[in-house]
């Protein structure tokens, strides 16, 4: 059985072993014992609330309780850009018009910005290939929204998620070739490796700081602004269903979109409910939907936050969870849990 839970001190080795399998796509999960150890320590301090909210890094692991393996990992950073500047390009609009010539030109413009400074970031999502099936990916990704819905006071700013940008078949980035390349004189993979160290501010230092008309870029670069990497499209859809939106911020390097939301507009904030764990009665049974949908359920304990998927459905503020579910959540009858339908309800309008 799979449970997503707050990471703890004992997870380091398993985390390292998983990091060795991540590959080059993810910059924040490198198989480096020192780096991982530091990150783990920060995560533990975050759940223990011994460091200020903006320094926190809530890291979750998906554990396969049948064999103790770590099947996946994901995280929420309390705030970005407070120790090192966090840069994006923001896409704005400028209009040039002359009545005399009857010309009206509306142009998209890239502004180098630190606007997202202080936002909380969804990051470091990785699911081991052995577990890429069923609802596992959704459980892992969406568990973070349940956490935010349970502890919204920890997240006072925007929530953001950086999406990997479009790459051509050969792994090159048309946006980089059309823009960054002229200012770096390094090839894409070299810069990619540098950014893999997690330091992107040097990019901004060398990138043009004055606003740029997108029209100055080659067609191929213009076309991929805000486009995700092919393999990232499902992750993007999933976050959009949860209430995140592309609002015109892109990565300065590959123009991948940043998805963002105010905490209050997250589906989890609107649709998640508290429920008391209670045995099924005839009444609740009668009121239960005919075709139950899978439901995300979590306990309500910050230090040992745990989430699962269940087929049980909350009815009138109560939910009947199996003994196994309760064990995974470390909950008991009478405890309060938070529930959220795994899938988005279709609007009935």
């Amino acid at each position: 059985m799979l449970v997503v839970r707050a990471i703890n001190e004992n997870d380091l080795d398993a985390l390292y072993s998983m990091a060795t399998q991540v590959g080059t796509g993810m910059t924040t999960l490198k198989p480096d014992m020192k780096m991982l150890g530091d990150r783990l320590a920060t995560a533990c301090a975050s759940f223990a609330e011994t460091i200020p909210p903006e320094q926190r890094d809530y890291m979750f692991v998906m554990e396969d309780t049948s064999n103790g393996r770590i099947a996946g990992v994901c995280a929420i950073k309390g705030a970005v850009g407070l120790t090192e500047p966090f840069y994006n390009y923001r896409i704005g609009t400028l209009v040039h018009s002359s009545r005399e010539l009857n010309v009206f030109t509306k142009m998209d413009t890239l502004y180098l910005s630190n606007d997202l400074t202080g936002s909380s970031e969804l990051c470091s999502l990785f699911l081991h290939p052995d577990y890429r099936q069923g609802y596992n990916g959704k459980l892992l990704s969406k568990s973070r929204f349940l956490f935010i819905a349970q502890f919204p006071h920890l997240f006072t700013q925007k929530i953001i998620a950086e999406m990997r940008g479009y790459q051509a078949e050969d792994g090159s980035s048309p946006f980089y070739e059309g823009l960054g390349r002229h200012f770096f004189k390094m090839d894409f993979h070299h810069v990619d490796d540098l950014t893999a160290l997690g330091k992107k501010s040097f990019i901004a230092e060398l990138m043009p700081r004055q606003p740029l008309y997108i029209d100055y870029l080659p067609k191929e670069a213009q076309e991929v602004v805000g486009q995700v990497h092919k393999s990232t499209a499902p992750a993007r859809r999933l976050l959009e269903q949860e209430g995140l939106h592309y609002e015109g911020y892109v990565d300065i390097f590959d123009a991948g979109p940043v998805l963002q939301a105010r905490v209050s507009e997250l589906r989890a904030m609107r649709d998640s409910e508290l429920a008391v764990v209670a045995p099924d009665t005839d009444m609740t049974h009668a009121c239960a939907p005919a075709h139950p949908e899978p439901t995300l359920v979590s306990n309500t304990v910050l230090k040992d936050f745990r989430m699962i998927i269940t087929q049980a459905t909350p009815v009138n503020g109560e939910i009947d969870l199996s003994t196994q579910d309760l064990q995974l959540l470390r909950c008991h009858m009478g405890d309060t849990v938070r529930t959220l339908p795994l899938n988005v309800r279709k609007n009935n309008v």
């Binding site: 040039h96 018009s97 002359s98 005399e100 010539l101 010309v103 030109t105 142009m107 823009l179 002229h182 200012f183 004189k185 540098l194 330091k199 501010s201 040097f202 230092e205 060398l206 990138m207 043009p208 700081r209 004055q210 606003p211 740029l212 008309y213 029209d215 100055y216 870029l217």
Partner: protein, 343 residues
């Protein structure tokens, strides 16, 4: 014999004929009879005007072949480029980018829309007949404007510039325009030039052109290559002006990317090395020793005249020998002072 003199009302027909043969371009003579008449009238009024501060004056000079009684060249100077608005150009800027982490720094070339040339005096409308282009009269014509400015500094700014037409293809297209102006104006280069009448001081430039610096590395190769390049028709002017002391690196035209030569008057040879000498009557003999070409101008304001002569080095002399015929042409007499500079 050739003389440079201010344009006169009687020159209008000749100028109209000339305009028909000069190449289509933005910095040359006006093309229509109306416009030519206006330019001539404005010039006559400018030469006649009492001027304390340079303003809307525009001085048009012609090169006349005395033998043929024919106008074979034109050159103009505007007292203040922005007298009707603001003269816009692109300034070549260098932006420093430094990365401490990578320990590297780059210089990035950017073009910034600027109005720094507004108060400069502007040279323009330079044209000489093909046959004369290799002769000292071409330099005489170009330089006469500056000789006049040396004599009448209150009529001009402390700095001068000259926009030269940029490169275009055989269809009149401009690669620089296609990469920049077209994106904002949404029209062809020649259409835009027609609509704006070759001007660089119109409100619509502020309305349409980019307010932020244009990063040169982002321009297509052919547009970059066109920056600061002159149209072949401008080569003679370019050579004469750079010899004079004009520099070409700082500004380019906002439309076609052509070079804008500019200089402080201190840096111009006509200002720094022209001599004021007395006229004495020469004996008509060719002097001994090596000869060099000089431009000689009277100091007669609206009756300005300038010619070239071959003369021994005049540096350190008190007087210049001129034949009675030349004195006639220059409208000077023995003892009058003239302004001389090597060409």
């Amino acid at each position: 014999m050739y003389v440079v003199r201010p344009v006169e009302a009687g020159d209008i027909a000749a100028l109209e004929a000339l305009a028909a043969v000069t190449m289509p371009g933005v910095h040359t003579l006006p093309k229509t009879r109306d416009k030519i008449e206006q330019a001539v009238e404005r010039s006559i009024a400018s030469f006649a005007a009492q001027v304390d501060i340079p303003s809307e004056e525009s001085y048009l000079f012609v090169l006349e072949s005395l033998a043929e009684r024919k106008i074979v060249g034109t050159a103009a100077i505007f007292a203040s480029a922005g007298s009707n608005g603001t003269y816009f150009s692109f300034r070549n800027d260098v932006i420093q980018q430094v990365s401490r982490d990578l320990n590297i720094s780059h210089s990035v070339h950017a073009l910034t829309l600027c109005s720094e040339l507004t108060a400069y005096s502007q040279l323009s409308s330079f044209y000489v007949e093909e046959a004369l282009q290799e002769r000292p009269e071409a330099a005489l014509l170009s330089r006469s404007r500056l000789l006049f400015a040396v004599q009448q500094p209150q009529r001009f700014g402390d700095r001068f510039f000259v926009p030269l037409a940029g490169v275009t293809d055989e269809h009149g297209g401009s690669p620089f325009w296609d990469a920049l102006g077209r994106k904002f104006f949404k029209m062809d280069f020649l259409d835009a030039e027609r609509v704006i009448g070759g001007a660089r001081n119109r409100t619509l430039i502020v309305e349409l052109m980019p307010h932020y610096p244009v990063y040169v590395p982002l321009l297509p190769g052919d547009a970059q290559a066109a920056m600061g390049q002159i149209h072949p028709s401008g080569e003679l002017a370019f050579n004469l002006l750079t010899e004079e002391g004009f520099e070409a690196d700082e500004y380019i035209d906002i439309f076609d990317g052509g070079p804008i030569l500019q200089a402080h008057k201190h840096a111009l040879r006509t200002f720094s090395s022209s001599l004021t000498l007395r006229v004495r009557t020469g004996d008509g003999q060719v002097p001994e020793g090596p000869l060099v070409n000089y431009a000689i101008a009277n100091n007669a304001g609206p009756a300005f005249r300038a010619v070239t002569i071959a003369s021994p080095e005049l540096e350190g002399c008190e007087a210049v020998a001129l034949s009675p015929e030349l004195q006639d042409i220059l409208r000077v007499a023995e003892g009058d002072s003239v302004t001389c500079v090597r060409v």
